[in-house]
Symmetry: C2
């Protein structure tokens, strides 16, 4: 890259490998950092070094955590009978922000996507089924909160089948497990005028009485 000093071009390269950051943005960020206090750079570097070293995956729900089990799984105030299945840890962040969910989570770490070679075995569906089958578990409801797109829908359908098959084998026949999906419809603040057909169809199908 021309005459750029190596320490500068190295950082540009590192930024460029991040998703959504192109060469121009990487340059801009790097040259911006030339003017910040060295302390900030060192804190940034420390945070990068520690990101994976000081975190682990919760062995119960597969969320990113500092402890195993994670704070949510370990919390006595959380309803263990209610599992919300999400694609990524970031989805948990959004759900937690609502403050309306008191159950626990299960992070799939992706969605079934044959085009990208991600099959059912690449994501944590097997672990979810095992969690449901565990005789010690008292799961009453599984909320599928995968994304409302092709991959998310396919993943949700696959999980429903797997859980239904697993329930038959399950010793604990007394209790039926409900499997639910997040509601689809108009997002709050939207204009009906601009809503796409599929969303509007779902909104009609899912209409509720006052």
């Amino acid at each position: 890259m021309f005459f750029l000093p190596k320490p500068v071009s190295k950082l540009i390269d590192a930024f460029e490998r991040l998703p959504g950051i192109g060469p121009k943005t990487a340059q801009r960020l790097t040259f911006y950092l030339l003017h910040v206090p060295q302390e900030y750079l060192e804190n940034f570097a420390e945070a990068l070094n520690n990101l994976k070293r000081q975190t682990m995956t919760c062995s119960v729900c597969f969320n990113v955590s500092e402890a195993d089990p994670c704070l949510i799984c370990a919390s006595p105030s959380r309803n263990k009978a209610l599992i919300c299945v999400v694609e990524q840890p970031l989805d948990i962040l959004s759900l937690e922000r609502t403050g309306k969910f008191a159950g626990v989570y299960h992070v799939l770490n992706g969605a079934i996507n044959p085009l990208n070679n991600i099959g059912p075995d690449e994501i944590r569906i097997h672990e979810l089924v095992k969690r449901v089958q565990d005789p010690a578990s008292e799961i009453r409801e599984i909320i599928l909160a995968t994304n409302p797109n092709m991959e998310g829908e396919a993943t949700a359908m696959y999980i429903v089948k797997q859980i239904q098959n697993a329930k038959i084998k399950n010793q604990n026949e007394s209790g039926n497990i409900r499997i639910t999906r997040l509601a689809h419809g108009l997002p709050m603040g939207a204009d009906i005028e601009y809503a796409d057909e599929i969303t509007l169809t779902r909104a009609l199908e899912g209409r509720r009485e006052f």
Copy 2:
């Protein structure tokens, strides 16, 4: 930030302080980094740590450099009689990419911007005048390559005045210094239909014979 593990939220905070990166992007980048090899994180951290430690400002042109003077100032193949004045080191990168400039540079490190409390003394205009006044210098032409916006234009006009005043005091009266600006006009690949009036006015004023 809810229950987010500290190592995760620390990195999100660091990303958020970068220009143009909001909370959502910072989260996305951080969670992306949870899946990359530790080696990449360490290289990234090292690049951040070394960015300012292993670079310096060239004492001649104020460009970012690994050595002092920088490679451009030290190069015997560069024409020291031709100085191109730019706002930032990134501008040098763009000019070098053309491969058409064989002179040396002078980095102002900003533009005069009274709204942001950046006056002529905050940027390296004084150093430029000193460089011109230096009896050992053989400067024949100064190309002003500040940005074609309000701040850049004001800076260019201020510099012209300063150099003209300095020339009078300069001992070396024999040679006149040319002060030029980059041409303004239609960018290549543009549509005249969509050109703004100021650009089109400049293009008319600056028209050239075939």
